[in-house]
């Protein structure tokens, strides 16, 4: 069965520090991988996605993620965090390009301190 694990429920970083949010998946084939961000009271915004090709993908707002097949991981990174990055981050896995039936991780809440 497909599953997505985000082992960190809550992360606190200082503004300007680097960030890495972890995501591991369990799926038989190569999945389609996504990161979404949810700001308080907002819907989900797509940050980036991976389907194939270059395993390092660039997204919006300065985020990037790296797909590592050997580790079944798709970790999200940002070199320098801004206060506006404080939000909930969700990793999601899809079966195919139509992105039907996404499986979401439990989310990581990011707090940014001055």
């Amino acid at each position: 069965a497909q599953s997505v694990t985000q082992p960190d429920i809550h992360i606190t970083v200082s503004e300007g520090a680097s960030l890495e949010l972890r995501c591991n998946y369990s799926y038989g084939a190569t999945p389609y991988l996504f990161w979404y961000v949810q700001s308080p009271g907002q819907g989900l915004q797509l940050l980036l996605k991976y389907f194939s090709g270059d395993t390092l993908v660039q997204g919006i707002k300065g985020f990037e993620a790296e797909f590592k097949r050997s580790q079944s991981s798709f970790n999200l990174r940002k070199p320098s965090v801004h206060w506006s990055d404080a939000a909930e981050y969700f990793c999601a896995v899809g079966y195919f390009a139509g992105a039907n039936n996404l499986f979401f991780g439990t989310g990581t809440r990011l707090t940014v301190i001055p």
Partner: protein, 115 residues
């Protein structure tokens, strides 16, 4: 990307009543979905809204509790029927566009509280 609106943005309802949530997209889309996000939880897919036919429900969700309509390519409704406090959640619709079939976009959500 598609612009998605939901109405209402939030509501407080009494148990035993029903609420219909609307999802409107500013362009035609291929697929529309409804998700539930319970307090402090992740998102769970309720169903796929199919145009002109019955929705496809995920395990644990039934049509009697969550009837869904999709009369055209830009609009869908989700009704939460006979509500109980356990239905208190954020309900989100999402869409897959006509041309960017690899990406799923989400509406702002409807925050429902059942008392």
């Amino acid at each position: 990307s598609a612009v998605i609106s939901q109405k209402p943005s939030r509501d407080i309802c009494q148990r035993g009543t029903s609420l219909t949530i609307q999802c409107q997209v500013d362009s035609q889309v291929t697929m529309m979905f409804w998700y539930r996000q319970q307090p402090g939880q992740s998102l769970t897919l309720i169903a796929t809204a199919n145009q002109g036919s019955e929705a496809t429900y995920e395990s644990g969700f039934v049509i009697d509790k969550f009837p869904i309509s999709r009369p055209n390519l830009t609009f869908s409704t989700l009704t939460v029927s006979n509500m109980s406090p356990e239905d208190s959640s954020i309900y989100l619709c999402s869409v897959v566009g006509l041309f960017k079939t690899s990406e799923q976009y989400f509406g702002p959500g409807t925050r429902l509280t059942v008392t």
